[in-house]
Symmetry: C2
Subunit: 429 residues, 2 copies
């Protein structure tokens, strides 16, 4: 079979890693694909030291790669959503398939781009967009093909997981660890995308679309970051048998889909609870396979390139047959209502400072009871030094978000009690 | 596209589950495959209550299914290696692809059967043969396609993992838990295959063949069961920061391949160490992706059927194009020397009873030192009651197996010291 000719646009971390992998693993890739994978063009707006110079034409105008006759597949690794979108559209319209690592692009424009890919009889694959080197999209598309997935949850942002892990291991503050993460290159100068959960929401929307065979719906993802989590929360959670992780969670209900990203208390014996540092992990609940968990490096030059090149092997093996990124053709995706957070139900962790006097705890319990929320566990610590308040932590049973919010407002209105800090609890199975 | 016509031979746990899944998930499977998956024949030597009766011809002579004109793919789920082999060969020669859950068949006759499949231009897939519902073979074949895998390790026998987990959680003896596992249906009346590691060795040989692109070599797998592990070992390991798991381990070295199944001390923070009960998990070390871990139900009616049907979807999507079970054509598999266990190096856990008198510990240390083996940690407990001996546990640094064996013989020859009980230690990364 003839070679698969590849044009890589973007020569940064992902593109450079892809170029290197294509070169270093050429023999293995050809054995596994049944044909050669050949790099024919590079699109790079500027030179970079960490991108190997090869005997391949380099184009400053990336759109030239999308038009090149000797390119069968374009790898989009330039990032962003404007030029990247134009580049992908141009490539598809020129009869090329596309592999991208760009979660923002897929999450925000995927419906349109996947429809265009089908119209052009081409493929658009994006394994590298979620959980880096972990082949989670292939697991959903192929390994779980016989399953209705009812829910999934994942640690899908390595920066956030690194920060929470460090905060917990060394009782350090969020700001302190964030500064270190920036120095280590784990976090951007503007860390908003990572720590506020936007990056995780991009990835969750892709996972949910595949799992539930529904169109991508990034704007509907509820998103809460980790900047309000304190070392004290991590410590209390630990005492109660939990770890705090920043999770993306998607659940299929009879009346719609839950899509949310937020800090979450997880029981220590849940597998995801042991996934620390910059690692990513995703847990799928399938009706036939039961629970399966996939973990590994969520970012980095070669883990991400591993996912990009796996997609290229996929395309090489499929020959000219288009592959469906989400597992089914776009026409088979069924739009589903997204449940408002008010209707979502989960157990809760509440932490607050209360005046150390009789009656306070019973008032607190009354506010919860008035909303039908029962208390599962409670920690009240002795006052620190001369402090007139004591820290109180409450774990509730499952409660709807709207009921919990009303109870919390009532609690905050009590004299001598601070506004509670609330974190959701997830108990798989 | 025309329907994929399926004949299922065997109507027990796996076959029955497959039939049920094909029926219950018909719409979803057809959306994901781009064509219908239709059950056209059942081969069953006898009726079973748990196999749904369908409007499909049932054959007592299974070979009729292998010859039937309206069968494109035969699912072999009868188990065993004699009739199963004949059935698979007949199906392949009759121009049908085969999906099997039969690890013994693939491990023992896979080279021959895969060559026959290629010769007949058909596929032979066996996702369900390893780790049940966990799509680990697809992860190796597709997700890790851009990686040289340098090593893998896995908990790939749920019965053994259940027994070790229970022994550790409740300080129960091996025999006691085995009896319970048999009552629960987790272990066979003759538990040899599970507890002596033969089942795990079957699966390891399949994983290693895929990971290293080398022919299946089940007879070369070193195999040690869990029946010698005691609750005391689990307790000591715990004190030292380890859990004991029955692992299959395969490593690629410059001069050959290591293939071994044995009880193993794993650091508690290794992800596999948290995989308890009947769960399975496999860890892959790839040169690009780094470490990835996959876990889930290793057995059971629907997890196994999930894997069988995923293979059927794979075949349906591939249309008539044969798929390579091991990721590369048989001709591309490179035979490799298997390293003798004597040449394998790892750290060791030794437990022994020694007389409680001066000089014993120094003699023990001398025996290790004489073989160049250094001591990493040591626990000596006070004697129990009036016992004249004390339990001693030693963790060594990495040592070659032959050196360790010599040191252990020397220790056993010392007056006042029992034959040490030895368990290998694995420290990923």
């Amino acid at each position: 079979m003839s070679a698969l000719r590849i044009g890589v646009c973007g020569n940064g971390t992902v593109g450079g890693g892809t170029i290197e992998l294509l070169r270093n693993q050429a023999a293995l890739l050809s054995a596994r694909s049944g044909r050669e994978l050949v790099l024919t063009r590079i699109g790079a707006r500027r030179d970079r030291d960490d991108c190997p110079a090869l005997d391949v034409p380099v184009h400053r105008d990336l759109l030239e790669v999308a038009h090149a006759e000797d390119v069968d597949v374009l790898v989009e690794s330039i990032g962003g959503t404007s030029l990247a979108k134009e580049l992908v559209e141009t490539a598809l319209r020129s009869g090329k398939s596309v592999v991208t690592a760009n979660k923002a692009l897929v999450a925000e424009h995927g419906n349109e781009l996947l429809a265009l890919a089908e119209e052009c009889n081409q493929s658009l694959l994006c394994e590298a967009a979620v959980a880096g080197g972990v082949p989670i999209l292939k697991a959903l598309r192929d390994g779980m093909a016989a399953n209705s997935v009812s829910e999934l949850s994942g640690i899908i942002n390595g920066t956030g997981n690194f920060i929470l892990t460090e905060m917990g291991a060394h009782q350090r503050s969020f700001d302190d660890v964030l500064t270190e993460a920036q120095a280590l290159g784990y976090a951007e100068a503007d860390p908003t995308f990572d720590v506020e959960g936007i990056d995780a929401a991009h990835k969750l929307s892709i996972l949910a679309a595949m799992a539930f065979a529904t169109p991508l719906n990034f704007p509907a993802v509820f998103c809460e970051g980790i900047s309000a989590v304190t070392p004290a929360d991590i410590q209390f959670a630990d005492e109660l048998g939990y770890r705090i992780k920043h999770l993306g969670i998607a659940k299929q209900h009879a009346d719609g889909v839950e899509l949310r990203v937020h800090p979450t208390l997880l029981p220590k014996d849940a597998l995801l609870a042991s996934v620390d540092g910059v690692l990513n992990a995703v847990r799928l609940q399938g009706d036939a396979a039961g629970e399966t968990v996939y973990s590994g490096a969520g970012a980095g030059r070669f883990p991400t390139a591993s996912a990009v090149v796996a997609d290229l092997v996929d395309l090489a093996r499929a020959d000219t047959k288009p592959l469906h990124c989400l597992g089914v053709p776009v026409a088979k995706l069924e739009p589903q209502p997204i449940l408002p957070m008010d209707a979502v139900s989960c157990a809760w962790y509440l932490r607050l400072e209360a005046e150390d006097r009789p009656g306070v705890m019973s008032q607190l319990a009354s506010c919860l009871g008035a909303e039908g929320i029962s208390i599962e566990a409670l920690i009240q610590k002795p006052p620190k030094g001369a402090a007139s308040t004591v820290p109180v932590v409450v774990l509730t049973n499952a409660a709807r978000e709207d009921a919990l919010r009303r109870a919390v407002s009532a609690i905050a209105a009590l004299p001598g009690i601070d506004q509670p800090h609330c974190i959701r609890i997830e108990s798989p199975n």
